[in-house]
């Protein structure tokens, strides 16, 4: 088995790392790049805790091999704030207590960002449909939905 050199852009920074060919993007992010915000909840694409935005598309990093990310642009939960200024979604999740244990939270934030990037003012049904690939075992989802809708309102107030 060979080791592959991967160059990609993660959260705006060009990143290079060496990995085994069978390393998942999730493990590369966590172990090679040191970004442990993305979580492995299942390893099979069922829970969405590893969600990242890869070349503009919401993706389970556990179902991508790291070499597939060559040349790609990847956004993780660590990259959604603007420097020290939290993303509106982070702000509304925090203010609305839209988290409990917090393991699903990074994936929800990334998935919600992918939604709002495409559709700044979604309906509640659109929010549910867009977040259907993310499982939460603690909150019952209502606070998460309210937080995403609140962030969408925040988008509106920002013009």
């Amino acid at each position: 088995m060979s080791r592959t050199h991967v160059t990609c852009t993660i959260n705006g920074d060009e990143v290079e790392f060496l990995c085994e060919d069978d390393t998942t993007l999730l493990n590369a992010l966590r172990d090679e790049v040191g970004l442990t915000g993305s979580k492995e909840g299942c390893g099979t694409g069922d829970c969405g805790a590893c969600s990242v935005i890869m070349d503009g598309a919401l993706t389970c990093a556990c179902l991508v091999f790291a070499p597939e990310a060559e040349g790609a642009t990847v956004v993780t939960v660590e990259g959604i704030a603007d420097g020290n200024k939290l993303h509106p979604l982070q702000q509304t999740f925090l203010e609305g207590a839209a988290l409990q244990c917090g393991v699903c939270t990074p994936g929800f934030l990334v998935a919600a960002k992918a939604l709002l990037d495409e559709n700044p003012h979604p309906t509640e049904t659109e929010v549910r449909y867009a977040l259907a690939g993310n499982l939460c075992r603690c909150t019952g989802y209502d606070k998460i939905i309210r937080a995403v809708l609140a962030a969408a309102d925040y988008n509106g107030s920002e013009g």
């Binding site: 925090l94 499982l135 939460c136 909150t139």
Partner: protein, 749 residues
């Protein structure tokens, strides 16, 4: 004011930015990788074990097996489980260690440089097994001639714990009954499915302590179990909980604690000082830890023409699996709930725990309560139907009140409020729901049912659940507060709070900080918490039994008082330590069950409205009014969060979660086959209704509440489904397949 307010969770910024560290995030890049090798045998005797090929696999550092464990047995409330199944061990336990009684029994721990090497070595282990008859369920385990899974207990059968209640005169009870309802109920497993699978690491800390960083529910109990297996003094073991990715009871028993501690300790003895980490896959997690018990309950209840209960006869069997875990305690809780939250003049209740070769049953939010509440409330709703009474009215005539004598023939603790909870829930449910926040989600949107296929129904249920440990189990909680300031200061400028209580996601550390701030009269930002590390915090007891706010609150109040005394005494810093001990409880009398079981209760009622598509079997819960007396909401936001989350977890239990087991083997160990609710599945409207009727001995009047939403949802949904279809469901989950099959076999609609 800190208590009653909704300050931001103290952990929320880290959680929204991704910097909060859970156990798997803490494992450093240079750590060794440990892999637990399961026996993969539901029931078999190990006749030989050869790990030589594994030990010489490139990259392997060590392979640990039974003889490496000084005392090769553990268990939270009953030590009946080998740390490793092995052909030989140190001889310091009576539990035969050469038998695998569960497919996820541990055979070995491989420690290697990489995960690949660990996997290869695990595959190179050669074990030979003598197959033994697999006891796949309680019927097989109780059949005449069934092999004994734990002959060492001397009982001569696999039914290893039985509790009784014998109250009043059953013949008189039946004679007074105008209606009798009888059924056999089957309750299913439930998998915790916390989003963070088991993970942890172990190392020797600067003070030479064997240190385990892991997610659990009770640091000091983990420490005790590690110390027992390693035969070390407890103060040579340290347990730290980083952020915990959910628990729900599933981390009450140990998972990786002992084997990781063993590895770090043994490697250290060999001069290898790197930390050892282990992260379970979802499959390993689902196969490798206990579940909410499945079981069977036969119940026969009678009531007079006015609807007053005259007799309760009930017998329950819980599938404990291969090992006890907390089954004997769960069974007690289930036992107490078999008569519901009602005045029962005549009762004959029996409850059994049965060893089988299936996955162990253990703690899960509600701890036996949801199973018996399902049965009791179905029985109550059937009595109401039989007598033509409104489900709320029949409860009004039977619920426990202040001064009531409970089913164990002792007075209820003061502050019995179930009558108020039932009335408040019924009143709220009779008003129109708030406007639905969205159009109904799939499948009703996509499957286009014809109007005639849709039936609507309403259901009601109520329950009580103990707060704190029951039946004489030692109950206590410690807290320490250190006040800072100069000698001349009137008041401290800040405080440190030391508390071991586990924040499993419910927000316990935020609530502790609020309570300390309130007790000290300090702003919340001036209280700095130090949590969940046995090296610096006293024993808190577990994050379970809806007890942590209640117990920690009383401990914090005591510590604040002690610290204040020290402050007024001129001590700087002023230290206050307190160990809170609640009123005592008692074990069940073996024959009659007479005892004082608990010192505090929480009370809950839920009203459910649903729609069922009789053409496909799909159920949509349109509304649930979830009513809780929480005594005092220390943090109302977090109370609502517990209700919403608990309701949806209960929704999965009742409607979609279906752990498929065959021949004691789990067939659905993935989140693609074990379906917890997604964002489109829960009730369309969840209405949390919070009452604050003080618990006389709760801190600021608070009662525990985290388990309560789990208690009544199953019977309320079943009652609503009966209202909609005329069919009773005496088993769940109510997946479309089960609903459709049952509707078709019953000839309805």
């Amino acid at each position: 004011m800190s208590v009653g307010g909704t300050p931001r969770r103290i952990d929320s910024e880290g959680k929204v930015t991704g910097v909060t560290e859970y156990p798997a995030d803490r494992i450093p890049p240079d750590a060794l990788v440990a892999k637990v090798v399961f026996t993969n045998q539901a029931h078999a005797r190990l006749t030989s074990l050869d790990v030589r090929a594994a030990e010489v696999t490139p990259g392997v550092v060590a392979v640990f097996t039974a003889p490496d464990v000084p005392v090769n047995v553990y268990g939270l409330t009953l030590p009946d489980q080998p740390v490793f199944v092995g052909t030989s061990h140190t001889g310091r336990t009576d539990v035969p260690c050469d038998v695998s009684r569960w497919e996820a029994d541990h055979l070995a721990l491989v420690v290697a440089e990489t995960a690949h090497a660990a996997d290869q070595a695990a595959a190179a282990i050669v074990a030979t097994w003598e197959p033994l008859p697999v006891l796949g369920d309680i019927d097989e385990a109780m059949a005449p001639g069934a092999p004994l899974l734990h002959p060492e207990n001397g009982l001569g059968h696999n039914v290893y714990t039985t509790y009784n209640i014998r109250k009043g005169d059953m013949a008189a009870g039946w004679a007074a009954a105008a209606a009798v309802v009888e059924a056999t109920y089957e309750v299913p497993y439930q998998e915790h499915a916390y989003l963070q699978p088991e993970a942890g690491m172990a190392y020797i800390d600067d003070h030479g302590r064997v240190t385990v960083e892991i997610a659990g529910q009770w640091t000091h109990e983990d420490r005790e179990q590690i110390a027992h297996a390693l035969d070390l003094p407890e103060d040579e073991i340290r347990v730290i909980y980083p952020a915990i990715g959910g628990a729900f009871g599933g981390r009450e028993d140990t998972s990786l604690q002992i084997v990781l501690a063993l590895a770090a300790w043994r490697l250290h003895q060999r001069g290898e000082h790197r930390p050892v980490g282990c992260v379970w896959s979802r499959e390993e997690s689902i196969v490798g830890h206990h579940k909410r018990h499945r079981g069977r309950i036969q119940a026969r209840w009678g009531a007079d023409a006015e609807g007053r209960i005259t007799a309760v006869e009930s017998e329950a069997w819980l599938d404990a699996g291969g090992y006890n875990y907390t089954s004997n305690k769960v069974l007690g809780n289930l036992h107490l709930g078999q008569g519901g939250p009602y005045e029962v003049p005549n009762a004959q209740v029996t409850s059994h725990a049965v060893y089988t070769n299936a996955v162990p049953g253990g703690a899960f939010r509600g701890f036996g309560g949801p199973q018996s509440a399902y049965v009791a409330e179905c029985q109550m709703n059937k009595l109401a139907e039989a007598l033509g009474l409104d489900p709320v009215e029949i409860r009004r005539r039977n619920v426990l009140r202040d001064g009531s004598i409970g089913i164990t023939q002792t007075p209820m603790p003061d502050g019995v409020t179930i009558a108020q909870v039932v009335e408040a829930c019924a009143a709220a449910a009779s008003t129109p729901p708030p406007a639905s926040p969205s159009e109904p989600f799939t499948p009703f949107a996509t499957l286009g049912p014809a109007a005639g296929d849709l039936r609507r129904g309403r259901g009601f249920a109520c329950a009580f659940k103990n707060v704190g440990f029951s039946f004489g189990f030692p109950e206590r909680c410690e807290a320490e507060i250190v006040l800072h300031g100069a000698v001349g200061d009137d008041a401290p400028h800040g405080a440190d709070l030391f508390h071991a209580g586990a924040d499993v996601g419910q927000g316990a550390h935020t609530v502790f900080t609020q309570m300390a701030a309130e007790a000290l009269g300090l702003p919340i930002e001036r209280v700095h918490g130090h949590f969940s590390d046995t090296a610096i915090t006293g024993d808190s007891g577990s994050a379970s039994a809806s007890r942590l706010t209640w117990m920690a609150g009383n401990a914090i109040l005591g510590a604040a008082e002690e610290a204040d005394k020290a402050w007024r005494n001129g001590d700087r810093p002023a230290v206050g330590k307190f160990r809170y001990v609640p009123p005592p409880t008692e074990a069940l009398d073996p024959e009659t069950g007479v005892c004082t079981p608990n010192f505090s209760y929480g009370y809950v009622a839920q009203a459910v409205e649903l729609t069922v598509d009789t053409g496909t079997g799909h159920i949509r819960v349109d509304r649930v009014v979830s009513t809780h007396d929480v005594g005092r909401a220390i943090n109302p936001d977090l109370v609502v969060a517990q209700i919403e989350g608990g309701v949806v977890q209960a929704h999965g239990y009742v409607l979609s979660e279906d752990l498929q087991v065959r021949d004691a083997r789990i067939q659905t160990p993935r989140l693609s086959t074990y379906l917890i609710p997604g964002i489109g599945d829960g009730p369309t409207v969840i209405e949390p209704l919070i009452l604050e009727l003080a618990d006389p001995i709760g801190p600021w009047g608070a009662r525990g509440m985290a388990e309560m939403p789990m208690m009544t949802y199953a019977p309320a949904v079943v009652a609503a489904l009966h209202d909609a279809t005329g069919v009773w469901f005496d088993a769940f989950p109510l997946t479309p397949s089960r609903v459709l099959a049952r509707l078709n076999e019953s000839g309805r609609p």
